[in-house]
Amino acid sequence: MSRIMTIWLPRWPVQRRLVEKPEWRKRPVFVCRRENRGLMTVMSWAWAEPPKRRRAAIRPGMSLAEAMAVLALAYGSAACHAAEIDADDSAADAEALGQLARTCRRFAPLVGIESMPAGRRTVGPEGVTTPECLHIDVTGTAGFFGGEGPLARTAAWTLAARGLHARVAIADTPAAARAAAHHTNLVARAEPRREAEPEMSPAAVVARVRSGRGHRRWAVVPPGAQRLARGEAAVLAGLPLEALRLEPAAIDMLREVGIDTVGGVLRLPAKSLAARFPAGVAERLAEFTGARAEPIMPPRGIELPQAAHAFELPLSLASVNEAAIATLLEGLVRQCTTPLAARGEGIVLLQVRFEPATSLGATTAAPTVIDAGLFRPSTSPRHLTELVRLRMGRMKLPREIEAVAVEVVATGPVECRQRPLFDTASDGSSRQAAESRAAEVSLLLDRLAGRLGRPAVYEPRPVADAQPEHAWIATPPGRPAAGGSAGPALRAAGRRPVWMPPRPVPLEPLQAGPVAVAPDGPPLRFRLGGVVHKVAEAHGPERIETAWWRGPTVRRDYYIVETESGARFWLFRRLGGRGAGNSRSGNWFLHGVFA
């Protein structure tokens, strides 16, 4: 029988963000996803401060607006302003968990991410949409750590040192270990007290008890305990049914016949279970007892290639030719792309580390890291190297380096189409041309991103919304829009300019006279960037009144104005509460320029 160590990272999407942005630890954090009902929270983390009025009951699946109202009641409205709201990114969650899995290879070589049972990928009451557990096969390796107990404890504390709250359990099967990890307290209570922990100091014991809101962070289930073979009330028998990851309907059925615990289910004959419950129940049970193998699937990232070059003597970057470094880099990158290309994959995210030389006595400095991300998987070492070089130009590199390491962080399938044997001149050439154009565009995008940073390169997509600045969203170029855009595009009759400032620009006051003549009419003259424009022609108004549900109502009258110099601007007057006919320049804004 094998031994599996499971590491559970409760609310992984939140934890991941707290590690990346430690300053968020002092704030409420919400991870949200845009759904048809609005922004829904996927995960929430009520931070450690005690509530002022009553326990905040913010649950995954709530809308953000509602969560804010609850938060405001419990902690006051200041908490809402402090709250961090981040868009759900399950790909990044999975990627980060994969990274963590890699570091966990120090406990044993075979590390996997838990598989999700089918049908559990939607936001449920527990809100879990991404895996939160790592399974590690520690069969026979616990001895290196002084036994299973110390191993589990080491794992928990190692992760704690990285700022992660993890719960760890060791059992015979991944399912059993996962169940135990979710209920370490129960397991620990049921555990016979024979194994004392002599090496723990009293302070450490206190710390342990206090840690994780009174939860024990680790537990070890003795071998064979999940099977009830000897009929003894084993450690896991007392766990609630939820530990088995059954469908809620199946749990209700079991409860109805008086079965509340894992032990109760295990006692039932398998044959009668199969006759009464959907197939999933038997499967989950078999995985739990080990009757059905649940393979540990290493995340893809673990197998990704890496390459490094260590210099015999520290290399002074100032002294070498840039081209030489590029050649070196390209060689390293090629080492990575070659095995990938054979699998039909290309690099999406590449990390290059320059290890600084350590002078004697000095503390080790952190390596300089360059991440090069692509919008399309690439197998071209030249292209990848160029991207890295573009970034290098903008970074402060260490004076002397000891080693260069290249590591592939994420990959994607490379689109490869079979070329037709006989290219007919007419459409063959055009298709080829289109392909090469697309390649050029993606090259351009990657270069731009390399120079400006990835967030600076995006593709606007229209969204149906009456308020112009909300009528589009930025998506990464070349990818299908994340999340459904809301409904069909707005059937606005009004025309929209090609260029819009990020937010409306107030028009400057004129020295003499108001902006507009008629209280309801378009402006006659206005000043922008120090230049006074005279209006030759104006179209409008187009009145927009909307957005009351997300903030104060936006009320504007838009005009398309053509100046005497032939420029066309998109201006609006803010319709204030105090007298809609107010013509003071403070109420006029520029919101776009027509080509």
């Binding site: 759904e35 048809n36 009902r37 609005g38 009553r54 326990r55 905040a56 009951a57 649950r59 699946g61 709530m62 809308s63 607006a65 509602e66 804010m68 109202a69 609850v70 405001a72 009641l73 409205s77 009451p125 209700d252 409860r255 016949v257 008086g258 079965i259 509340d260 109760g264 006692r267 039932l268 004959p269 044959k271 009668s272 006759a275 009464r276 149906a464 919304d465 009456a466 809301a486 409904g487 069909p488 595009a489 707005l490 059937r491 606005a492 009759a493 009004g494 025309r495 179209h539 409008g540 187009e542 009145r543 927009i544 009144e545 909307t546 009351w548 549900w549 903030g551 109502t553 838009y558």
Partner: protein, 1096 residues
Amino acid sequence: MTHNAWPYAELHCTSNFSFLQGASHPEELVGRAAALGYEALAITDRATLTGIVRAHGAAKQAGIKLVVGAQLEPVDAAPIIVWAADRAGYSNLCRLLTHGYTRAAEVAAESSGRRSAPRPTDADGDDDDEPAGRTAGACLLTCDDIARHAHGLLAGVPLAAFGRGDHGGPFGDDRLRDTTEQLAHWRWIFDERMWALAEVALGGDDTERLEWFSRVARLTGVPLAAAGDVRYHERSRLPLFDMLTATRHGGTVEGIRGRLLANGERHLHERWRIAERFAALPGAVERSAEIAARCTFSLDQLKYEYPAATVPPGRTASEQLAHLAWKGAHKRYPAGIPEKVRELVTHELALIAELGYEAYFLTVFDIVRFARRRGILCQGRGSAANSAVCYCLGVTSVDPARMNVLFERFVSRERCEAPDIDIDFEHHRREEVLQYIYETYGRDRAAMTAEVISYRLRSAVRDVGKSLGISLDRVDALATLLDVGDSVAELPTRLAEAGLDPVSDTGTRLVSLVGQLVGFPRHLGQHVGGMVMTQDWLTDLAPVQPATMPGRTIVQWDKNDLDELGILKVDCLALGMLTAIHRAFDLVAAAGGPQLTLATVPAEDPAVYEMISRADTVGVFQIESRAQMSMLPRLKPQCFYDLVIEVAIVRPGPIQGNMVHPYLRRRAGEEPVSYPNDAIREVLEKTLGVPLFQEQAMRLAVVAAGFTPGEADQLRRAMGAWRRPGVIDEFHRKLVDGMLARGLAREFAEQVFNQIRGFGEYGFPESHAASFALLVYVSAWLKCHHPAAFTAALLGSQPMGFYAPAQLVRDARAHGVRVLPADVNASDWHATLEVRQSAGEQPTLRLGLEQVYGLGEAEGQRIVAARPNGPFRLPRDLARRAKIDRETLLHLARAGALTSLGLSRRRAVWEAMQHQERPHQRPLLAELDDDDDEEADGLPLMTPQEEVIADYRTGGLSLEGHPLTFERERLAARDVLEIAAAADLPEGRRVRVAGITLVRQRPATAKGILFLTIEDETGAANIVVRPDVWSATDHAARRAAVLLVEGRIQRRGAVVHVVATKLEGAIGVGAAKRTASDPPAAPARTALPRMSRDFC
């Protein structure tokens, strides 16, 4: 109205009676239009005239002309607005709508689920496609239908619906041809009675639009008129309109923001602004006023005629009525008609003839005769019903000779108001009566009254919450937190209790929108029993549409609308107690007793009155409520008329008028009875000088203040809550002045005014009370002499009355009735009696399968039908023979109805779980005996507590015990007394009791005091909860199934209350209800469901 520079009439205006498509009441629209000086306002709701009567009333008051119209959406053309130019046009409109609704219902029945044909929609973002699958209540019309009914109608075609081009810019040439073709088609139908409506709403391209409109007009020769496509009266309703749009599309505002209108211009604008906006179309604005001027129809022109009765040849209706009345009288009084009755009948017949109400009485007689023939128990009530004529006709069973009563308010000469007769029928069989009326009068001439279901606080919170994107859990939690008596003012508090900050953005929006939404019509339901019948086509009068219930049609107006237009209706109501009495009569006869009828139940039985005086009245009609029960020992009814008073006295009217205590004191001889003068003595003598009936209060106004009877009745109606304010003050002055002028003291005058005010809405006419008192007596007699049959009959007529089955059974057992549980091998669908051999012994009550939670009647009947072939031995056997599925088998197993199969409840559930619904899918295994006995050994046995709670969960009652028995030890440790023990404590003693909440009641008269009835294993206790105590109680406890009450004993005669000082949700059994902040922790099977019946 003064001369105005920009004459304008809004001709395209949607009120909130186009459900979810308009955001203002018709009254608001009419009022605003009048204030803006419009020439006229047309209410053009989407294929409905439901709001038109209200608009009519408001328009009359505001002094503005109302144009009656509707927006039609034919399946094969763009939407069109029609207005009724004259009476004929109005009839055509009604018929057209009726036709459309009937067709839609037919189509929905033929092909449920098929989507309606696509059609052009508004250009402005709010497409009016109903979500799929909602065609049932729709109005399905074609151009041809409209053409057939076009006579007398004017038409307007909103051009905005055409303008959107498929390619190129909006208002391009591509739609021009289509538009002109359609306009030409309409032109061909309506000739010069049609216009094209130009509508713009600051869309940024208004100039282009107007240009395009005038181009269309030039090409087709159809004149243009300005309109506004108004959806709400003021700009400030924009958020509400957006919210309603979201609800209509079943989404959140954020989710459907792309479909919202871009601005709030769809309100009623000032006239100068309209003139400015349409300056490019000369004449368009004035033309709107001209169109309105051509519509001369007003609802005042409607004339209603009651259907003529079918009379044998050679007789007038009047002769026929007299004939029937005297024939009946001879049958009622075989020993000879008493002189008093003879006089009454003669007098009443003369009055009826004078007012021309013969047909009405003959109709009522006809309906009642039909019911009698079918053996359906029925009884009339209402002012006209308790006349001697009605007794002779058999409409009521209250003998005018037996009661020493004068029916003053019978049919008044002055009020040209319809006589009022309600007829109660057995609730299971009323449908037969309704169908008889449809058949007799024809579907074109009879229909049910509609009832406009409006948003209440709870439904408003639900819809607003959902549209703002608040999670369904929380919306539900919030909605359940709201007590029915709550007003919008209490919403912020409730929000905070539900864990939402009321001053957060979301909270503020919710509160403000809910405040506006409450009172909005939500959908059209049907009135509990009002039938409208007409001489001519009913569809000339109002549109008639099929109801959701097959075989029923409803007229689009509600009770108040019909009242306003003076249209008669007969209320055919369903009364559960009549069903129960009928059933009890049958059970008594089947058990070897006499076959009884309402009239043959032995009268004035002292044993019955003795039982009533003890307040031993659980299950008895009317007098079983807490308030009635506490009154009975004080009133101690001794004769039938005492019951009439008992029924009438515990009503909000007498209670608010402060008449109960004086009456009780005078009855007990503690207070002298005096009358200011003889006229007043005559009115009040029979109730010891205290007005207890509505008629007395009205008569007082006549004899004391010199009102004419007609004025007195106006006064009563003016008191009604929905009538206009201001009128009351006028009556107040008139009443008090009148009495002072007659030498009465001001104090007395004010007192009378208050009494009348109390009666305005909540009084009981003596005639109603008398009809009800008869049912009180009969049901009490049954309870007294045949408790088993009575209980079985009540159980078979649920839901009805004040108590749940558990309390009825408990009460029966307390009266020595042996009760057996429901079982598949012994029970019928309804409860039955198992007659013992030894004479004189009470029969045993066997609960019916109807007690099994989740079991449908069809399945239940199949089980009963399959039983004659031998008892069921195995669940599989039962399932196969009765053809029931796994779920049903599970319901039976859970309820313990498989006990006779030798299976414990849990074992039975386990067996039922493996039942294959379609055995033929596993032919090889079907006959395999796969239930080996050892396999279920893993199942833990149920504890007695689990058994009892399972009983409560599955049938609402347990014969094994009471849930609190198992908590007694723990309760005792907390100094909680048994209720029986607490009842013996002296006044003022502090006490703690606990029990299941049976009833929660917050009478409107009690100033917010909540009355609870709780029950433990020893008995029930009445708890009085003051508002401050209730508001200090946390919300989990409010909804808890089991309450722990701390308070003081209060004794009033034989009645004991506990005045609560603190409420807690009790431990263990109680914490069943899931709340927003606490997910369920306890496994479901040990949590008790909420049993409470709420009358808040």
